[in-house]
Structures are given as C-alpha cells and as structure tokens.
Assembly symmetry: C2
Homo-oligomer: 134 residues x 2
Amino acid sequence: MNIVNKDRRMTKQRQVILERLREVKTHPTADEVYAMVKEDLPKISLGTVYRNLDILAELGLIQKLEMAGQPKRFDGNPHPHLHGKCIACERVVDLGPDFDFGLDKKINGFKVLDYKLEIIGLCSRCQEKENKLK
Amino acid sequence: MNIVNKDRRMTKQRQVILERLREVKTHPTADEVYAMVKEDLPKISLGTVYRNLDILAELGLIQKLEMAGQPKRFDGNPHPHLHGKCIACERVVDLGPDFDFGLDKKINGFKVLDYKLEIIGLCSRCQEKENKLK
DNA sequence: AATGATAATAGTAATAGTTATCAATAAGAG
DNA sequence: CTCTTATTGATAACTATTACTATTATCATT
Ligand SMILES: [Mn+2]
Ligand SMILES: [Mn+2]
Ligand SMILES: [Zn+2]
Ligand SMILES: [Zn+2]
C-alpha cells in the first residue's frame, strides 16, 4: 500500500484522488474526478488530476479505461473485469469477471498479446425504463 | 451502387475518396486519406474528407474503426471482420471473420446489443523481424 | 440546353480532450 | 532543520475533430 519511494512521493492531491476514486462505483472521466476532488482541495488544477490518474494507473492502483471515441474513464478497482457501456444513459457499468480470451495464441499469423473488449447495450436500469413505456 | 437520391449527390470528391479507400488494404486515418486523395484532387480540404468519410460510413459503404485512444481509421471493406493492432509497427491488419459473440443475450442483467473487440499484438511481419534479432 | 433549388465544397475558426512547460512549492531522506 | 528534487498550479500548446459560411456544383425540372 506504500507507494512512496526514491522517485514517488505521496502528496495530498494524489492521496485524495485515489481515495475519492476508490469510494465510487462509477467510472468517472478526468473532468468528473476533477469535480469530485475539488470538494476537498478547491485549488487543485486539472493538469494535476490528469498527471496523477496516469501515475496511479501506471502503479497499478487504478485502471484507465480507454473506450472507443470517448473520453478516457478511470476505475478505482484495479482488478481486470468486464465493462458495459449503456447506449441510453451513457454510463459504464461493471459486468463481472473478464472473459479468458486465451492469449499468446495466433490468429491468422498474428500473435495475440492483449485485447480490449467493449460491451455495448442497455443497463438494467434503462431496460426497466424502456419496459414502462409500453 | 447508386447512392444518389433526393438529399445525397455524388461529387467528384466523394467518388475519389471511396475509390482510393477501396483500393488499399491498409486502414488509413482521415489524414492519410487526405494525403492519398490530394494526389487526384489537390484542392480538396481536410474537412471535406472528414465529412465524406462519415457519410460513406453512414451509408454502409465503408467502415469507421474507432480504436481506443487513437485517431479513427477507415476501412474500404464494409463487411464486419476482426482487426489486429500491431504494437511494433502500429499497423492495423485484417485477421479474418469476426467472432460470433452472441448478441441479445444478457450479462449480469445488462442487455448486450453490440461489442467492439480490439486485438493487440504482433503482426507476422514484425514477428519475423523479432526472430532475426536473436 | 438553360434554370433553379439546395447539397456540398474550400477555407477557416472553434472545440474537446489531453499533454507540455515552468517557476514556485513541499515531501521526505538524512 | 536542511537540502534535493518530485510535484504543483497556472497556463500554453497540441491533436483530432467538428462547426461555420460564403461560394460552387449537382441534378431534377423545365
Ligand atoms: Mn469497473
Ligand atoms: Mn479491415
Ligand atoms: Zn443505462
Ligand atoms: Zn507489425
């Protein structure tokens, strides 16, 4: 849990970003993290938020979710798991454990080292709304 | 093959963009399409390229590939197929038919309508280079 | 072939998201 | 407490893309 070392210090800003991100189950964008953290540290700058989100992801303490054609999102849960993007409410929700795609195999001569799977559909909340309309 | 109708005209620009994109097996970005098309139409503007790539994708004549955290790429082949992104040469290569992920099912209450699968690894060309180095 | 309505264009400004720069500050080792 | 330097806040810069607009070109209709 101690990330402090020769070239990494634990600043108030870094600490609050990590804490606030860990206590939500949403997957906020950098802007949204900025808004959350400003409640505690009103003078923090957006650049600091971006910088620390990158560093925390690099350290493996959080996850950076890069969805196609949309701003990056961040996940306080560092353990790999499957995400769904709701086309109605735009939220990103947890769908449970990741598939085991089977790495290091080859497809058509291409050596598979990693993959990104993005599930698109309707979250349960939006399905309910849809049902009430008919 | 005739996309002309009440509110869609076939311009020289649109035609050349479609032709040039169809004759390459790469997956160029808008900028790269711009460079290709300028050989035929030196006065075309980048905005026109973007606009037409969107329209052609909307018409189902080409594909827009939105990779996580990188500029969009375009594919002259409109039929769904699997793509691999090489971490060495940065190229996007065709890997053959798409998996049948099985749509309309539910994962954890989330209704799956679509998905994006991005394979990351080494293309065969870069694997050869790697082998020669040892 | 000429006309006319309007889709599309070239050129450019604007925007969103993110990264880079840098003087001032503060974490933390000694 | 002191010193080194990682980090910060503020802001500029950048990249990819979209929006705006006066002018031009397509094509259905005459
Ligand atoms: Mn998650
Ligand atoms: Mn392809
Ligand atoms: Zn929803
Ligand atoms: Zn390669």
